[in-house]
């Protein structure tokens, strides 16, 4: 408004151009509820976590909470455990999921198995939390089917031999259940995208199967493969319900620690809890960013 007024009053001359009246677009009103919701229940909580990470109990600015993230041994251990499990299940899930997708797409298995596997993967990748934890307790827990079968076959007592699944290995086995189906779901279309012409061209130029995979297929698939592995990493890193139901607070994950911090200030420092959550958001953001970048690269070769 002020700009417009100045222009017309310029020494009483006739304005050289029509004042630009920027009309407010009422279109924004249509998306206002959505963004209001997102602000209230997504952005404000995240921003408040960010701000409180840099506050002392009295509300003054401090770096202490962030420094504590890298010095308090409980927190370092929690991050180590979370990162280890995420890394193991991301790599394991990616490799096994890739092989499985390869088997049904290019391995010459009957077509209906492919449809079956994809449907199943759709269900399994969404299937997690408390029931999944109890399923694995019934499978490889102390009284689990696999445990008892092994015990009766070899006539041994695994429990006395120090067998326990309530550790990183056990939890990784559980996580794998929702990890590799996700890989299958993303990898199958990518493998479909490998055109027969490329293989033929490679063969016509005298390339062996090794050459084809090393110089054609793998470079094309690599962004998808890595991107999905990163996605799996984030998927495991943010998991809470499965771990909690599986082992209670036996396994000291970052999510478990945050959960405990919610239920009672176990760290005896509210600011530290915020910093813990912030660290999580940062790692998740980085992994989503990596996924997006790689996904974009992968899209170059598709269609």
């Amino acid at each position: 408004m002020t700009v417009v007024a100045k222009k017309t009053n310029n020494d009483g001359n006739v304005p050289l151009e029509r004042p630009k009246t920027r009309k407010f677009s009422w279109d924004w009103l249509g998306v206002a509820p959505f963004f209001l919701f997102a602000t209230l229940f997504l952005f404000l909580p995240s921003i408040s976590i960010f701000i409180r990470s840099f506050q002392t109990r009295a509300g003054e600015f401090t770096f202490e909470n962030i420094i504590a993230l890298f010095t308090v041994s409980d927190i370092i251990n929690a991050y180590k455990t979370s990162l280890t499990i995420s890394l193991i299940t991301a790599v394991g899930g990616a490799l096994f999921g890739f092989m499985l997708a390869y088997a049904v797409v290019l391995g010459g298995l009957p077509g209906f198995l492919r449809a079956f596997l994809l449907t199943f993967s759709g269900v399994a990748s969404n299937f997690a939390g408390v029931p999944l934890a109890f399923a694995f307790v019934a499978t490889i827990g102390n009284a689990g089917l696999v445990t008892r079968t092994i015990e009766s076959i070899f006539d041994i007592n695994l429990r006395q031999m120090g067998w326990s699944i309530y550790n990183i290995t056990g939890l990784s086995i559980v996580y794998m259940y929702f990890q590799f189906p996700l890989m299958v779901l993303i990898m199958a279309p990518a493998l479909d995208g490998l055109r027969r012409e490329w293989k033929e061209a490679s063969e016509n130029l005298g390339g062996t199967s090794w050459h084809y995979w090393r110089y054609v297929a793998l470079p094309i698939l690599l962004p998808t493969l890595l991107g999905t592995a990163i996605l799996l990493f984030g998927n495991a890193f943010g998991a809470y319900a499965t771990a909690y139901a599986f082992s209670g607070s036996f396994i000291n994950l970052v999510t478990i620690l945050i959960g405990a911090q919610i239920q009672g200030d176990v760290l005896y420092n509210p600011g530290l809890g915020n910093a813990l959550a912030l660290g999580m958001i940062v790692i998740m953001s980085l992994s989503m960013l990596g996924y997006t970048v790689l996904q974009r690269r992968a899209a170059r070769w598709m269609r």
């Binding site: 997504l42 010459g108 969404n126 996700l182 945050i258």
Partner: protein
Amino acid sequence: MRSETDRSLSAWAFLKGKNSGSKTSGRRGLNIWAWIIFIIGMIYFFLPLFSTFLFSLSMKKDQLSFEAYRLGFSDPDFWQNFGFSVMWAIITIIASLLLIVPTAYWVHWRMPRLRPVVEFVTLMPFVVPAVVLTFGLIRLYGSPPILLIGSPILLIAGYIVLSLPYMFRAVDTGLRAIDVRTLTEAALSLGAGWRIILFQVIFPNLRVAILSGVFLTFAIVMGEFTFASLLAWPAFGPYIELIGSQKPYVPQALSVVSFLLTWISIGIMQRIGRGAVQEVAGAH
């Protein structure tokens, strides 16, 4: 010239394919590996399910029975918590639809350039895990000026956030398949009011998309644990967890019930939205 080259190439490829006996045997070798991998995958898929089912049947000594189910279902707390979860699911679905469908429709019709922004927002739950979001919500709304902790608003909001990626994706895919602009403007020029446009033009075209979003949201909310547990609201997920620390066998029976619910919902969803495979889970 060009076609000649092509023809000679294809002839060459044809001959090569015909003469390469080693290649076929190589493929057969591959096939065995494919079968082995596939079978290992199936064992991984089914062994836990089978074990859980068997476990849930073995409450009585030396015989299979549905005793654990009978015991589970006879607990009034079960029905109460289950009922709460159904209620949360229905409220979430309605609220999520009211939020997402008009927004997605509006974005498609009037502000297509905003679509990536909206999509980015709906993907936020992958950046802010449920437990972190709960933490933020409790810290922010657990004390004045805005006190929401006593009402289920935070729980429903959390569930809506969880459902955002799937709901938006389903509706967005549905809207992409139809020409929103043409349909809307045709309806407008024929004198249709907004209610008619939404309920008789747009919604019927989105039925499949909306239904698949609905069933997936239902599955997610029914099995959800993090929000309900940390915000201290009764729900099916926390109830199974609680029973798990009290009785053997019954939690496995309830897990089987939960499996079936998830599977039926997602099975229906996949049947309706054939081809639209859902990726990325968020409720672990």
